[in-house]
Amino acid sequence: MQISTEELEGGITRVVLDGRLDIMGAQEIDLKMNVIAGAKKAVLVDMQKVSFIGSMGLRTLVTPAQAIKGRGGKIVLFGPNEMVEKVLKSSAIDTLIPVHHEFQSAVAALQ
């Protein structure tokens, strides 16, 4: 599982995830996600290249999202594929962290 960050205009941090967010994938990025969550206030998680997510992966998204929101920040998910989005919906995570498929709307939601 790869993770990289990019600073966008308006103080938005784009976090690009690439690979399988399975048990090991989640372990590989948990620490980096928590560091980002402790430092950033507007986070766009780019999930276009996430090919798989399970319940451990959901935890990797929800825990940092709680930290960001607890600090008065915002987080959105961008571009999950059909099956990854089905997992987000089945667990109702999509009702807690907004999911966007248009990049501009994802950015707008953070401003």
Partner: protein, 152 residues
């Protein structure tokens, strides 16, 4: 009690009870099965998800993270699809009687656990539990038209 036997060695997987083994061994095994049986991407994803959740539950709870215990997984073709049969030697536990997690009302109050079996129920077409003399058997069924056509 039913008997489940895999047809070929490729259709049976014996897994060591470590979380890292699930991520390392199971996805390539599913890829081979999907290729062998022309399983659709959606069904392949559902197999992948169900096995990750079921196997990680066995490792963490059934075997209490005790490594070097065995879990056996079999792919069994059926007329209208196939089943994945998962057997362990852990203390008796029926995961299907666990209650679904409450629907979270806010991010702040959301629980980050308890989604595993709930997801399995959503992604599998049917699930059955059978107690075994020395463990547990979970039968996860997938109804997939593309595989039923391939089965003679």
């Amino acid at each position: 009690m039913n008997s489940y036997s895999a047809n070929t060695p490729a259709e049976c997987l014996t897994l060591e009870s470590k979380l890292s083994e699930i991520s390392r061994v199971v996805p390539p095994w599913i890829e081979r099965l999907a290729s062998l049986h022309a399983i659709s991407d959606r069904t392949r994803y559902a197999m992948d998800l169900c096995l990750e959740e079921v196997l990680s539950n066995i490792v963490r709870h059934g075997y209490a993270c005790e490594s070097s215990r065995a879990i056996i997984i079999r792919y069994v073709s059926q007329r209208d699809g196939f089943t994945l049969v998962v057997e362990d030697e852990a203390p008796p536990f029926n995961p299907l009687i666990t209650e679904d997690p409450p629907i979270p009302r806010s991010l702040e109050n959301a629980s980050v656990g308890g989604q595993g079996i709930h997801l399995v129920k959503q992604f599998a077409d049917a699930i059955e539990y059978e107690p075994m003399p020395n463990g547990n058997r979970l039968i996860i069924k997938f109804i997939s038209p593309e595989t039923s056509r391939a089965v003679v």
